[in-house]
Symmetry: C3
Subunit: 264 residues, 3 copies
């Protein structure tokens, strides 16, 4: 058995994702296809990159991960595939693969140029169906990686917002808002450990928000809470509610973590 | 082949459900995973329980049903698995399994405590990925049920709203509103048969709404109609429209059924 | 391996689609089921017909395509199956299959009447689960087509809006609005070639909208552009935006294509 995952902004209301799976089934009938998500906001490369990075490592070794958030489809942007020690990644070279690749050991990068692998005629608007799906299917069915096209030295990287370390504080920002309205930040457990304090509290937009706790229901219903979430990153939530709505958090909202002040 | 179904409130816009499937694929590569639904309103244990109860019996014997609507994740709520004559059920012990279990013959109930089965480190916010998915995968791949943990005598049950029988009337309530705006009630065909009348009519909120008919288009477009729906329960609909919007029905709206009055 | 696709208006928020897959798994455990889409607007037979037509041809030969947009469920509308040189189609006889069949060579049409194939008791509101899913599963598992029921000569066809050819102009209309807000028209590349001009422009609602280009980013961000889309049909888009919102296009909005005027 071989696995292919799909991460796109195609949504599920049209037939787009279904046809990608039809193309894959025609080339690699034994491959299983798993949707990571298709609800990336249209054209939002950064959210697509984050979703792929957050999800990809839970799949077995050998999985082919396809990500298509591709506002430049049909233009001269390149198509690439990246082989790491664990996975193959396939997508446009616009940064959508780059957050996932930060945590992978890269073995080989190739331009996707071998037209024999594509669905013809290749449309100018849907390379997810005509290029990325058939290439992923061929790789999943055993095609040697070197058949894709020439070796590339570099690929496009989005800049990951690194935490900033101050005196008794770590500064970061909201990088993703999930379905529950939880706000995921760029602060991981390791960056918080530099504060060397037993108890921490989170500030945002000039106010002290909440202490960091172990789980959502550690605070009363309707109250804010910060936890190390399932991606290993600090996450702001409201027990039983939406932190996005109640705390008015957005992608980019600055977050500061510091030792719990004695007055609390 | 073995089947696993998933019923959650995780939605499909993030990578959560995809990673559950990745974890399952790593443990039970031959299992097929079918989504029952992931659009239970966040934290709405009762709607999750109803969806699982309505859907589970259409799957082949031996299916492992996983339900994760779990606002108490990370707290001290227990994780359980229930073996019935037809299925295995896996989820938090907060009642989400209980409506489905009303119609099943229970053979064994176990606490899920065997840490060897979990994905480590176990997060405090996503037991769907770290506990319930790997446990379901192991069960699907043949793990003996007794390996999960100690036997439990009781599990948490939500109270099912029973029909009330009056003089020439049966009273119930709306318990689910579906995508079409149809309002599913707690009145089944059997409870209506106690009225012993050839023709019945439905009252709600003080007005006579409609007779009970055979199918949606038995009334003109835009008109209300009541039918025994696909779950075997009385359902209020509007032909070509939304009963929820047009009749202003909500979960909990009282419904009365009585013999058709002669003046109608 | 055998493939079954599903195109419905059942949505994914309830358990309806999941139970269709459960029924299929019980009859044809080796079949793979692929969702084309379940987000057809409730009861919108024409959009369902278009989605099926746009998507069906990307699947391998032998695929069973099931389409259930079925506002007349439970009434006397017929259930049919159609065998073409490439595929089997299954659905209600209300036109939902007809756009797909325009491009297929039909070999045989049958009424679905063989009750032995159905799930009993057959509900009056959910033939997707009780009739179409089990019939598709049996066909996928090798049931001879002739076992379904008697041969039919005709099936219900929706009228496809044909392009109209004027003097140095081709007239059509918007027939589908996709998730990105792109407006797909009924004008295909062939109909535009009759204009015999190197460059074309698109008019709608009395204004000159844009030239026809090769891909979305051929125009600056926020500007309208027309391309031959992935279905082979002329499509109006806005680079980085929603043509539906910005250009106020609706299904049925008239579109005219003519040679680029010299003043442009």
């Amino acid at each position: 058995m071989s696995l292919i995952t799909l991460t796109t902004d195609f949504g599920l209301r049209d037939w787009f994702v279904g046809t990608m799976k039809g193309v894959i089934a025609g080339i690699a009938p034994r491959a299983s296809v798993i949707d990571l998500t298709h609800d990336i906001p249209p054209g939002d490369i950064q959210s697509g990159a984050f979703a792929l990075a957050a999800g990809c490592r839970y799949f077995p070794k050998g999985t082919v991960h396809v990500a298509v958030v591709d506002p430049g489809v049909g233009s001269r942007r390149r198509a690439i595939a990246v082989k790491t020690t664990n996975y193959l990644f396939v997508g446009p070279d616009n940064g959508v693969l780059s957050f996932a690749l930060r945590k992978q050991r890269i073995k080989n990068i190739r331009l996707i140029e071998n037209q024999d692998l594509f669905l013809h005629p290749v449309s100018r608007t849907f390379h997810g169906r005509d290029i990325f799906s058939p290439v992923a299917a061929h790789l999943s069915a055993g095609l040697p990686f070197s058949k894709l096209g020439p070796v590339l030295e570099k690929y496009t990287q989005l800049s990951w917002p690194e935490p900033r370390f101050g005196k008794a504080r770590v500064e970061g920002e909201v990088i993703y808002l999930d379905r529950f309205g939880n706000a995921i930040t760029n602060l991981d457990a390791e960056s918080l450990r530099t504060l060397d304090a037993a108890s921490l509290e989170v500030h945002t937009l000039g106010r002290c928000l909440c202490p960091i706790a172990e789980f959502y229901q550690a605070v009363p219903a309707g109250k804010p809470v910060a936890v190390i979430g399932s991606s290993g990153l600090l996450e702001l939530a409201v027990n039983g509610g939406s932190a996005k709505k109640i705390l008015r958090l957005k992608i980019g909202t600055p977050i500061t973590v510091s030792p719990l002040s004695p007055s609390d």
